[in-house]
Symmetry: C2
Subunit: 234 residues, 2 copies
Amino acid sequence: MHITLSGDRLYVAVDLMIMIYGDGKLRLLLSRRVNPPFDGLWALPGRFVGLDESAEDAARRLLEEMLPIDSAYLEQLYTFTGVGRDPRGRVISVGYLAIVPAGGLDGALAGTILHSFDIDTLSSEFALTGEDGRPLGKEELAFDHEAIIRMGIVRLQGKLDYTEIGFRFLRNPECFSLGELQDVHEAILGKKLDDSNFRRGILAKYEKTGRMVQTDKTVRSGRGRPSGLYCLKD
Amino acid sequence: MHITLSGDRLYVAVDLMIMIYGDGKLRLLLSRRVNPPFDGLWALPGRFVGLDESAEDAARRLLEEMLPIDSAYLEQLYTFTGVGRDPRGRVISVGYLAIVPAGGLDGALAGTILHSFDIDTLSSEFALTGEDGRPLGKEELAFDHEAIIRMGIVRLQGKLDYTEIGFRFLRNPECFSLGELQDVHEAILGKKLDDSNFRRGILAKYEKTGRMVQTDKTVRSGRGRPSGLYCLKD
DNA sequence: TTAATTATGGTCAAAGTGACCAAGAAAGGG
DNA sequence: CCCTTTCTTGGTCACTTTGACCATAATTAA
């Protein structure tokens, strides 16, 4: 289906940067474009904002249309308004960062047009790698979506240690080990963290304030000593 | 002039939160609405985004149309997209934070429709006071502009100590005293800072990295010991 | 049984922070 | 002209935070 945009008016769309953590990697979901413009390139999923919905409504609906989840975190990133950013016409895009809890897809991607890419976060730069191991060049990304992705990574890294955004990647914020949380942080920051110092920092920030409590359960996740399970309160 | 908006399309506007520092106060420029909706209330200056300009272009043009300055700092804040936010029709607003260097107006406000209000920043809350000393109730602000203002203050406070945004308020970033910079920080944070500790922190962050250097000049600003003048490099 | 692996707890020095004190250099008022 | 006030600048000191390690506990794999 080809969409024709009127040349004398302005359109507003949302673009979603859907992130998920799994197997030690941060992943981003992209769809391959099958129509002009940027036919054949990879793009963030997006849709136009209707007259009767807010941009956040549009973003959440798009997310729920594509994926079988209702517990994703959603945060507005930035609004891209360059005159020439869409060859079809004047389209302004509100970029959103979406975080799906780990395991929230579990094979559900098969029925969709979405494909998963690993994100390597080298501070504010980044590199994407497809499921086949092939690196994705930035020239293979449609529109100005590379800028949106970079902004999302910077935002994520920046908010990691003064918000609870890192917990959004956990399979279950009601039940997780500090090791899992550390893995998420390491994937986001793109570097190894000291186990002991990480633990000390998290406990100081969240446990000593009552926001996080240790349960009486432990879990054996393959090798090594079993880890205690924690949960986020409220 | 009354504007009629078509009911079957979506409009995009920019709203500017113009801030300036002077006389120990942080100030915000508002204009009084003389047409519906919100006739008689105070509002952030705004304008619609044209088909041939980006939102940032629109924001900068609006700023330059209203004020005789070309050196203002401009940063996108957030995009407000609520369906009912403008009774005239579907208008999305991209909020911008603008910072005018101190003294950049110096009486230039007289020829404009803008009025200046003092901002008292009580952490994430705020209070506005008119030139006549009368406090401005939040119900006297048009649209959702109270939310934009609150977001601007939070953003400003948050970025104060990990960006150079505080310097943007100085009359001349090429020549300022640490006392002036401290006054700006105190106005933004809404609290008194320890002179000595502030100096130590600023010097550690900016002078020891070469970003800021002390000139050989000093300035006598009324009473007290003359202060050394610093300038930001590059 | 031993080695490898992950979790947890602790030490220690360096760096950073907040509260305070003191001295230098000017203005203003008797 | 002296004294007080005001602002700038430099310093101390205890406390906290941070980064780099070391050590031990509890499992699995070989």
